[in-house]
Assembly symmetry: C2
Homo-oligomer: 311 residues x 2
């Protein structure tokens, strides 16, 4: 096998889909794409080995999948389509780039997104930066974090805490029965192979969602980000807990990538999900006028969520 950066690029290029006629993907200075339908969405997401995934617990393909899913999720949280991704990968010379790209490419493909370029560099630590270019109609336009209003009903697209519970199981070293064969395996898979809610985001946008955010830092933290940006308070009555996850994992565990959706017309949202054949969104509470209010049932909503330390 040829070695070195350019040989690695050639190998990676062969395993990815080819560009359609008139476009240039991997192999030139920049990817050349077609006209963008509607408005352009851009998001970039870092995954650092040991922080965003532990390579001693999950495969490098899982690490790649997680990096891609996290980046795609940001486009889903705007109600957009994830069209194209760029993968910048830094790592030591013995990094199994083929395995890492297996996961990146599988995640992109599973979400209908094409990898059109990237970069490779040496580095003592494996770092992946995935950038996704998406698009969204002008009307109804993208759904930001800041549009929620008092009275809007809050939904989450599914139970949360599965990724955190899966990580706990993987760390415990408990033997798993095999791929997908039981509750423990499902939790481990939720950690290794999270799914970005692109279809849910797009349906919610068309159904009149006023604000959305994806659960990447934890439900309590991310719902708080939405409330902060919108200038509203939160009254949650329920946190739907994934089977096998603890309440703390459901509230504080990130990287489930479910969407929190604020809906002025909750009936329209649930009807649109049903019509699209999606799992029903789960009502968790509502937005209130008192912007300082953060309640879960009769208690204060814990503020904890993941934050990187910087001075």
């Amino acid at each position: 096998m040829m070695t070195g950066e350019f040989a690695a690029i050639a190998r990676i290029r062969r395993r990815l889909p080819a560009a359609p006629e008139g476009q240039v993907w991997i192999g030139d200075d920049a990817a050349v794409l077609g006209p963008v339908p509607g408005r352009l969405l851009l998001s970039t997401d870092l995954a650092v080995a040991g922080i965003h995934g532990d390579p001693s617990l999950i495969g490098l393909d899982d690490f790649g999948w997680r990096a891609m899913a996290g980046a795609l999720s940001d486009i889903g949280a705007m109600g957009g389509r994830a069209d194209h991704a760029l993968c910048a990968v830094a790592g030591p010379p013995d990094t199994d780039l083929d395995l890492l790209y297996d996961g990146l490419a599988a995640a992109a493909s599973a979400h209908g997104c094409a990898i059109v370029g990237g970069d490779l560099s040496g580095c003592d630590i494996v770092v992946v930066a995935v950038t996704v270019a998406g698009s969204v109609d002008a009307e109804p336009g993208p759904v930001g974090r800041a549009g929620a209003r008092p009275g809007d009903v809050l939904f989450v697209t599914g139970p949360v805490g599965a990724s955190a519970a899966g990580l706990r199981l993987l760390r415990s070293g408990a033997p798993l029965a095999g791929p997908g064969s039981g509750p423990a395996e499902r939790l481990a898979r939720a950690h290794r192979r999270p799914v970005a809610r692109l279809a849910e985001g797009e349906v919610a946008r068309r159904a009149g969602a006023s604000a959305m955010v994806d659960v990447s830092d934890g439900l309590a933290a991310d719902a708080g980000h939405l409330a902060d940006a919108s200038g509203v308070g939160l009254e949650l009555h329920d946190v739907p807990c994934a089977e096998g996850a603890t309440p703390a994992e459901a509230l504080g565990g990130g990287e489930d990538y479910e969407l929190v959706i604020a809906a002025p017309d909750p009936g329209a949202l649930t009807a649109a999900f049903a019509e699209a054949g999606l799992r029903p969104p789960l009502p968790i509470g509502r937005c209130v006028a008192d912007a300082s209010r953060r309640r879960l049932g009769d208690a204060e909503l814990p503020a904890a969520g993941w934050e990187h330390p910087f001075g």
Copy 2:
């Protein structure tokens, strides 16, 4: 001063230009931009401390500038406009993010590009991934590497080797007189603050350039990439050497970000550069039909260029 990731994002956001009405830049899940005029260009570029710049020799602002310039240069090499950039930054808790962003923002601003988003993460090593979204007219369209034909005249937009010579001077520890005051200072500046040739790339595209590449790995290597992609041979008669650089630095030194341009109509190219008020492009040779040919004067063109080691 508030600390932590979100406080850092808030500080960074305040020092960057605000989004125009109807757009969302930093602060939501993804940046929301306007419609893209023409075709979309995407490129991503990694900068790893110790590999793409030595933080003991240059400031973290210089490191940021270099990362941005390298990413912008890829858009210039397609003949495109660099519209928007995303900066993903990983580093230890004591990383001076404000200084790093000073350089990223200064480089973006100097090249007419807006930083519209990014990501922050912890990491034991400073790693910056800059993604640039550009645009280019449909006609004349983007200029790739693969369009050169036998007989095309090759130009470079300026003398090369200055960045490599500047790095040599910085490594030598020779005292520099001050910013920009002499040849040594100019070389050090070429290393610390390289300029992407965006205007040159766009003028060359409109003037009928058949192929372009930026000098990021070294003139010999990058001209070779252009010839490989185009299936042509190279006969170079000259390598314009920056004042103070050695011939080896001119031939093998990367990160000057001058453009190598293949021109079927060299007169049209030089006339277009003159009309645009740009420095005259320097003829360095021509493309020939024998695709295996790589000559510099009477000798073989050295193949050496920078490549990251991967297994």
